[in-house]
């Protein structure tokens, strides 16, 4: 009896220890988020002022803003999204609708998942070999292409997943009244999966708006205002990279402020994206 009781006690104790460790692990995970956000707010907020959004990046040792970098980021993100989204949505459509059971879909899904987590610096090298080397110079358009290559796998993945969730009965109802397949896809499947597809696009924007590595040797950087897509263009992440590693205090402050802007943008986008699909996950 006493051995049974002591066994019970030791099992209970072991359980208590392990479960406490799990709670501690969760605490650690949340603590990092709080620490990083806290440091960003503390160091970044003090540099936020109107001039950040109205002035160009300064030469070393001068005050200035991030206007050209913010502009460059927005331009390249928009082009990247506009190039990558249609391709991603169409590919996802093929995988979920026309070719749901074809061999091609299986292969594409596998390769797409690998592209999804492939190191973004590799994409940068690819676009360098593809565009920068033949053109002979760095350009904003090359940066935008690199970003669009990062957009495609995210959009493909979410589009396929969301279209697969659309009940087949809806499609059959469409076909039964004589609508051809592409009309069924356009007016039934897309409509039913719209919030999910939009979520995918938002997540893709969130991902590329903070990407640095693929821009380093495609769009490079630019100290001055430039709206020429065929010339190097500044972007927020590359500017942060350059300024944070510099010895000048004004530059480091701008880097923190830029980091805060990016983080708030990305977190905002992911929270909106999540709230769009939130109800579906709860089911």
């Amino acid at each position: 009896m006493s051995t049974a009781q002591s066994l019970h006690q030791s099992r209970k104790r072991k359980n208590g220890v392990m479960m406490t460790l799990c709670v501690v692990a969760a605490g650690i995970g949340l603590a990092w988020l709080a620490l990083i956000l806290g440091a960003l707010l503390y160091k970044g907020l003090s540099g936020v002022s109107l001039s950040v959004f109205t002035e160009m990046t300064p030469p070393p040792g001068d005050a200035g803003g991030l206007l050209n970098a913010i502009y460059g980021s927005i331009v390249m993100t928009i082009i990247g999204i506009f190039v990558g989204t249609p391709i991603g949505v169409l590919a996802g459509t093929y995988m979920a609708e026309y070719g749901r059971f074809s061999k091609l879909t299986t292969v594409v899904r596998f390769i797409n998942d690998i592209l999804l987590s492939a190191p973004s610096i590799i994409i940068g090298l690819f676009v360098y070999e593809l565009m920068v080397r033949p053109m002979g110079h760095f350009s904003a358009i090359a940066g935008a292409v690199a970003l669009s290559i990062l957009v495609i796998p995210v959009v493909v993945r979410t589009t396929e997943d969301m279209l697969n969730l659309v009940p087949n009965a809806l499609r059959e109802a469409g076909t039964a009244i004589g609508a051809p397949r592409w009309v069924v896809i356009r007016s039934v499947a897309y409509r039913a999966a719209l919030s999910g597809i939009v979520t995918g696009i938002l997540l893709a924007i969130a991902r590329i708006s903070g990407e640095t590595a693929p821009l380093l040797f495609t769009a490079l950087n630019n100290q001055f205002w430039s709206s020429n897509l065929n010339a190097p263009m500044a972007s927020l992440p590359v500017t942060i990279f350059q300024f944070a590693l510099s010895p000048y205090e004004e530059w480091q402050q701008l880097a923190w402020t830029g980091a805060l802007i990016i983080t708030l943008t990305v977190l905002g986008l992911s929270i909106i994206a999540r709230s769009l699909t939130g109800r579906r996950e709860d089911r």
């Binding site: 072991k14 479960m19 692990a25 070719g99 640095t212 990305v266």
Partner: protein, 328 residues
């Protein structure tokens, strides 16, 4: 009367035929467009592989296999070897995974077994938000906040702690720079933690409730259910998540570039600065003059591509096995 209605019918037939034909054509156009887009995904990956091989040809044909085994990296004499970056990449990723896996599984257990239901979703989202933070943010935080903290408090303490213990004292030899291999590993651990956590949590959710309840029913504790039922049932999926995290860690660029120190040498000490493949490319590519230098950097990219491709393919294969089991 009949003639009129016949004419109407035949014209209706004609428009109907035309409409059906138009439908068929547009459907085919749309179908081809989707199919081509799907194939483009394959072309992209093929293009990446081909362009990397083409770009690295010059360096690889000059150095051959010794590129992989040479430690020296000298742009002046144009003698390049990839050993130091490969070493740095593998060491930092391995340490990161060793740290992140137990914590990630712990959080997943907490979320599936212990967490009060109303808190489950917010905490899950918070951990996933960690995954969304761009790597450059981790970099700037690591350089200005984390590295100084390690330099002034943690590293001197560890050096003091292991002083005189053979093996460990050279592993943790000073001076404490703050930046270096260990700092990079810790940052990487924080970065891959959300990936491992969310996949582990997802595969934990695939365990049939009946299995767990029957274990609880014979009197198992929560830990015993986790250890004897949940983890064995989901082993392949957890491995897939770990491999996915490893793939991320191996290719992670910006955060590591900030805190690794970018030194092309292999040191026994984890406190010493080092370099990784991606950090070398990010730091040196735009400054590289001469085709051989650029080509050597692209060769590094090719090595990284091959390593991560294998790791990620394994990860997906393992996760597919879990998926097909729950689908059946």
């Amino acid at each position: 009367m009949t003639a009129v209605s016949e004419a109407a019918t035949s014209s209706a037939m004609r428009t109907r035929e035309a409409t059906v034909r138009r439908f068929a054509v547009t459907d085919m156009v749309f179908r081809t467009a989707t199919r081509l887009s799907a194939m483009l995904v394959l072309v992209l990956l093929g293009g990446v592989a081909i362009s990397l091989v083409a770009g690295s040809w010059e360096a690889l044909s000059k150095f051959g296999f010794s590129f992989l085994t040479t430690e020296s990296w000298n742009p002046v004499t144009e003698n390049f070897g990839a050993l130091a970056p490969i070493y740095g990449t593998i060491v930092t990723s391995a340490i990161a995974i060793l740290i992140a896996v137990p914590i990630g599984i712990g959080i997943a257990v907490f979320l599936t077994e212990l967490c009060p239901r109303p808190l489950r979703r917010p905490i899950g989202i918070a951990v996933e938000l960690l995954a969304g933070i761009p790597s450059i943010i981790y970099g700037i935080w690591g350089l200005f906040v984390f590295a100084p903290f390690l330099q002034t408090t943690v590293q001197p303490f560890i050096i003091w702690l292991f002083k005189g213990i053979p093996g460990l004292d050279s592993l943790f030899a000073g001076p404490p720079y703050g930046i270096g291999l260990l700092t990079s590993s810790l940052i990487l651990a924080i970065m891959v933690l959300p990936f491992i956590t969310s996949i582990t949590k997802d595969v934990f959710d695939t365990v049939p409730a009946v299995l767990k309840e029957s274990a609880y029913g014979i009197g198992c504790t929560t830990w015993e259910v986790t250890r004897r039922v949940t983890i064995p049932y989901t082993r392949v999926g957890i491995m897939g998540g770990v491999m996915l995290g490893l793939g991320r860690a191996l290719g992670e660029t910006m955060a590591v570039t900030f805190v690794i120190g970018n030194a092309h040498r292999i040191s026994a000490s984890l406190f010493a600065p080092g370099t990784t493949i991606s950090a070398t490319i990010a730091n040196e590519f735009t400054e590289a003059d001469g085709n051989l230098y650029t080509s050597s950097l692209v060769s590094l990219g090719l090595i990284l591509f091959i390593i991560t491709f294998i790791i990620l393919a394994l990860a997906r294969y393992m996760l597919l096995r879990i998926d097909s089991r729950t689908g059946a």
